[in-house]
């Protein structure tokens, strides 16, 4: 056994360092506790906001669907406005809660096996009417025989939905949007998928490429912009990609459309 002898100054410094360590540990625990409390608070607020909204939307839909008698077309239009506004608010509340959970490192993955193709199909089907309304041309290209994913299907669909939603929002009527899925890199043991969501829309200046992933970022405040959101969508999408050990980035310039890419390392089910 080796004995180390310290002089008084060294012993004092060691004591002081140990005290600082204890203080740091205490502060870290306090911060974690505060983050957990904040998330719990947001979670409670979110539930409390959602509940009366649910009642408003259900009443609206009872009227719209003619359960209490047929409405005139103008009455239907007005009630549909109430429902649409309510549903938009619900989505925003959901995003705020997801973001808060991500910030507090409370997001976990519920992995199941599925094909990227099925997730893409699901998201395209959900956006079908918006795409038709804006007369956009949607193209989907999926490389054959891609490996099955073992990932969180809801979160992958959320990422795709967010990117496709932005592509639709920021592309003028008659433009093109597309989703491509391919192998980014493969070895005998590991595969990485590359997913691209692109559009011929207004584009993003290179100096704003990182800004768009920051929470509450607003790059374009022009009146032509028809986007309604919390400013959290891309921050959440990046968080979800990173939870899967992937990377999300954008390639774009003003006026040339945007191409968002993310990678997904393929894991096998245990």
């Amino acid at each position: 056994m080796t004995r180390v002898y310290m002089d008084d100054t060294s012993a004092e410094r060691l004591n002081s360092l140990q005290e600082q360590n204890l203080e740091l540990s205490r502060l870290i625990a306090e911060l974690r506790n505060e983050a957990a409390l904040r998330t719990q608070f947001l979670s409670n607020i979110s539930h409390d906001l959602r509940t009366p909204l649910t009642a408003i939307i259900t009443h609206g839909e009872i009227l719209r669907d003619g359960i209490l008698g047929e409405l005139t077309s103008r009455q239907k239009e007005s009630v549909s406005g109430i429902i649409g506004g309510g549903r938009q608010l619900l989505e925003m509340i959901g995003e705020i809660l997801t973001y808060a959970r991500g910030a507090a490192h409370q997001l976990t993955l519920a992995r199941t096996e599925f094909s990227i193709e099925s997730a893409v199909e699901q998201v395209c089907a959900l956006n079908e009417s918006l795409i038709a309304k804006k007369k956009l041309d949607l193209a989907v290209a999926i490389e054959p025989d891609l490996p099955v994913l073992y990932a969180d299907r809801d979160k992958i669909a959320h990422i795709l939905g967010n990117l496709l939603g932005n592509a639709i929002d920021f592309t003028l009527p008659g433009g093109r949007v597309w989703i491509r899925c391919s192998r980014a890199a493969s070895t005998e043991r590991s595969h990485v998928l590359l997913i691209e969501v692109g559009d011929t829309g207004i584009g993003i200046a290179p100096e704003h490429h990182e800004l768009v992933f920051r929470e509450f970022a607003q790059v374009d405040a022009s009146a032509s912009r028809q986007h309604h959101g919390t400013g959290l969508g891309l921050a959440i999408a990046r968080k979800f990609v990173e939870l899967h050990d992937g990377r999300l980035w954008v390639e774009s310039a003003l006026g040339t459309g945007s191409r968002f890419f993310f990678t997904l390392p393929v894991r096998s089910a245990p």
């Binding site: 979110s46 539930h47 959602r50 509940t51 009366p52 909204l53 649910t54 009642a55 408003i56 939307i57 259900t58 009443h59 839909e61 009872i62 669907d65 359960i67 209490l68 309510g86 619900l90 959901g94 519920a110 199941t112 969180d152 299907r153 809801d154």
Partner: protein, 125 residues
Amino acid sequence: MVPHILLVEDNAFVIGALRLLLEETGHRVSDARSVAAAARVLLDDPPDVVLLDLTLGNEDGLTLMSSIDVGRGPLPIVVALTGHDDVATVERCTAAGCRAVLVKPIAPLKLKGQIAEWLGGRVVA
């Protein structure tokens, strides 16, 4: 016999909306705002379908499942109502014995259709 639906929900506005919908579409409706109140309805006036909110104040709605007495007549069909249908929530509800998980707000015509489908396969109490 008119189907009997028990709404287990703690918000008066949501109860009001669902009661209106269900009564207008030919159902008899009871409501309960806590697990204890719902358990009493299960004993006194057994419903055909239970629409069960997962969050009842500080209570977990799924704790009601242990009050369902398998010895007494046909079991009610229990359907969970929730704000999120993520995999974990669906698994928890299915494991507890729920027939389905519906995300609020539920489209009225869809709920009406689903109730008819659930009850179609059984004799109404």
